[in-house]
């Protein structure tokens, strides 16, 4: 039943070739967007790097060689090609640590967005479809969490729970679910008045069935768009927490803490802070460009 209704159009005069498979049509448009495609390839490269880190990294990220303390990048005098981007204050290979650092950024980004999307979608469906007290409780909680500046909330939680990878994921997911929740609630409010939901109700479908089988498939695109677009933000917040020393703990390499490590040596070793920061910029930029492409292709109403 739900397949017969295109997810986002509902207007007259729709292109039926697209309506038969809206996702395929959206994908076609996405592929035509060159910048978005290149950005997606960049993100994919980072993911591969994260997965294959032990195979790709030239050195052990945690093993230092004090003789190579603050050794400059290969192209500078005193550098060597075995350590292309130089070494940090403990003589550890900057490139290897960056490659391993990819794991933290990607893992945190993916997990936070996954949990946030699942929780936010379920909460948004419940609030939007059931209305009444459920809606009031969820919406108030959303309002309260929105009242917290993001970083302050995360820093407070990290102080409470202590540093570590799983705690970062929790601290960020606790607040992040609010955004998909708001989107899903608004979409559900609109969807519950449509004919296909009306029809399912008339046929005696249960509320759970209507929410999960009828409404959910039709509102997935905006969730997808919000999720990818927020992943960039989550990655920056993780890096900021690690920079402040509240994130992943040493010796695990994370881009944010690598930038912090290099702060004391700006005068003699600019490379320690500079390269990990470039990596953050590259990944976040790629995600932003890709998500913009997704937004344009999947949700014309949200077009920038």
């Amino acid at each position: 039943m739900s397949e017969a209704v295109p997810a986002l159009s509902g207007a007259k005069g729709i292109d039926w070739a697209l309506a038969e498979s809206p996702i395929a049509g959206n994908l076609r448009q996405f592929v035509r967007d060159g910048a978005a495609l290149a950005a997606t390839a960049t993100v994919a490269a980072f993911v591969l790097l994260a997965l294959l880190a032990p195979l790709v990294a030239p050195h052990d990220p945690a093993e230092g060689d004090l003789l190579r303390r603050l050794q400059p990048p290969a192209w500078m005098s005193g550098g060597e090609w075995a350590y292309p981007l130089g070494c940090d204050a403990l003589g550890r290979d900057v490139l290897s640590r960056m490659i391993y650092g990819t794991r933290v950024s990607i893992l945190v980004g993916v997990l936070v967005i996954f949990f946030a999307a699942v929780i936010g979608t379920l909460a948004g469906l419940a609030a939007g479809y059931l209305r009444g007290p459920v809606d009031i409780v969820i919406s108030r909680l959303v309002d309260i969490l929105l009242g917290f500046p993001y970083l302050i909330f995360a820093i407070g939680l990290m102080a409470m729970m202590g540093p570590g990878l799983s705690n970062i994921v929790l601290a960020l997911a606790y607040k992040e679910w609010v955004l998909p929740c708001r989107v899903v609630r608004a979409e559900t409010l609109a969807a519950r008045e449509t004919e296909y939901v009306e029809a399912a109700r008339a046929l005696g479908a249960s509320r759970v069935h209507i929410m999960l089988r009828e409404i959910l498939p039709n509102i997935l695109s905006p969730v997808l768009v919000v999720a990818t677009f927020r992943m960039a933000h989550v990655i920056i917040v993780e890096a900021s927490l690690s920079f402040l020393g509240l994130g992943v703990q040493p010796p695990t390499a994370s881009w944010g803490s690598m930038v912090a490590d290099g702060r004391q040596f700006l005068l003699e070793a600019w490379w320690v802070s500079t390269f990990p920061g470039l990596a953050i910029l590259a990944l976040v930029l790629a995600i932003n460009v890709a998500s913009q492409g997704l937004r344009d292709a999947f949700d014309p109403r949200l077009q920038s």
Binding site: G147, P149, I152, G156, L246, G277, I280, L281, N288, V289
Partner: protein
């Protein structure tokens, strides 16, 4: 907006602020580590002395009681004693607020001064090279991690070129008598141009770090709003009347396009408060953000609670102000 509607909107803020207070309290109450041990540090103390201190700080009372005491006191502006400074939390915080306000205002100024002209030009010359450059620039701006951009600025201007100071707010011997506690203004009041220049030199890098990131967002908003405004019938009509290009842009299009820009600017100013913590840490800026980061590491609960509440309340109020502003500027919207 009718007075009744306004009262309703203000009433809606109460549960939000109360919820924030609960979360701020629970967050700090559950934080591991005994503040008494941290306060005393290595100093020798008997268990009795520690108990006395604990009692003194109210830490031996049940959590619920502590919350209501905290809330009651907070409403009267009393957040207790800062564990570290042994002075009222509010005094310690208020001391740091002017530095943060000065930095935030400077960042806001930079953001608006870059975003509005660039946004307008990008919209007028849509798809031209400037539009493309501005789009790429704003994408870079939102993707730049603030702490790293700050460090790059330090490396370039403070370490390499040595034209700007690395950290702080003003140099030794350049202090001026406090009036507004905003150094740029106070130095002008005191007639000390050397102090003004010093304050400005200290302010530039942190303000740029915060301001350019915000400007990137505002530029996009201005551009979109301007493109929309320029497509309206009244612009076509103004053109048909033979009005000059400058007049059409300034008086007709920009006036309407600024509504979303101002609204987003108010909301983003709230987010700047969070960004302040990072930027103040990077630049050793003696503001509230750095104070909070230090307090978290020192488990200085009362101070963190008070600051979190203050931040959240400011944020909620700015959003509220943005709503009101939007309604006031745009008669078509009725809340």
């Amino acid at each position: 907006m009718t007075p009744l509607k306004l009262a309703e909107r203000i009433l809606q803020l109460v549960p939000v602020l109360l919820g924030i207070a609960v979360i701020a309290f629970v967050m700090m109450a559950l934080t591991p580590g005994d503040p008494v041990e941290i306060m005393l540090g290595d100093a020798r103390s008997t268990p009795e002395q520690r108990d006395a201190l604990r009692h003194d700080m109210g830490l031996d009372r049940p959590p619920l009681e502590r919350f209501f005491v905290f809330l009651g006191n907070a409403l009267s502006g009393d957040f207790g004693l800062s564990f570290f400074h042994r002075r009222p939390v509010m005094d310690v915080i208020l001391e740091r607020v002017p530095a943060t306000v000065e930095l935030t205002l400077a960042a806001l100024f930079i953001a608006l001064a870059t975003a509005i002209p660039l946004g307008v030009l990008a919209a007028v010359r849509r798809n031209g090279w400037l539009d493309r450059a501005a789009t790429i620039g704003s994408l870079l701006g939102v993707s730049l991690p603030g702490f790293w951009f700050g460090i790059l600025l330090i490396m370039l201007f403070a370490v390499h070129l040595q034209v700007l100071p690395v950290s702080g707010r003003i140099g030794f011997g350049q202090e001026v008598p406090p009036v507004t506690r905003l150094l740029l203004i106070d130095s002008l009041i005191a007639g000390r141009l050397d102090s003004f220049a010093a304050a400005l030199r200290h302010l530039i890098m942190p303000a740029l770090t915060l301001g350019l990131a915000m400007g990137a967002i505002l530029m996009r908003v201005t551009r979109t709003a301007m493109v929309e405004a320029l497509a309206q019938d009244y612009i076509v009509f103004a053109e048909a009347k033979g009005l000059s290009r400058a007049r059409i842009l300034g008086r007709h299009a920009l006036k309407n396009a600024l509504i979303p820009t101002v609204t987003v600017a108010a909301i983003e100013t709230g987010s700047l408060l969070g960004g302040n913590m990072i930027v103040e840490t990077v630049f050793g800026w003696p503001g509230l953000g750095r104070l909070v980061v230090e307090a978290i590491f020192a488990r200085n609960y009362p101070l963190v609670q008070a600051a979190v509440l203050l931040y959240a309340a400011t944020y909620v109020m700015l959003n509220f102000a943005a709503d009101l502003l939007y309604t006031a500027l745009n008669p078509r919207v009725r809340l």
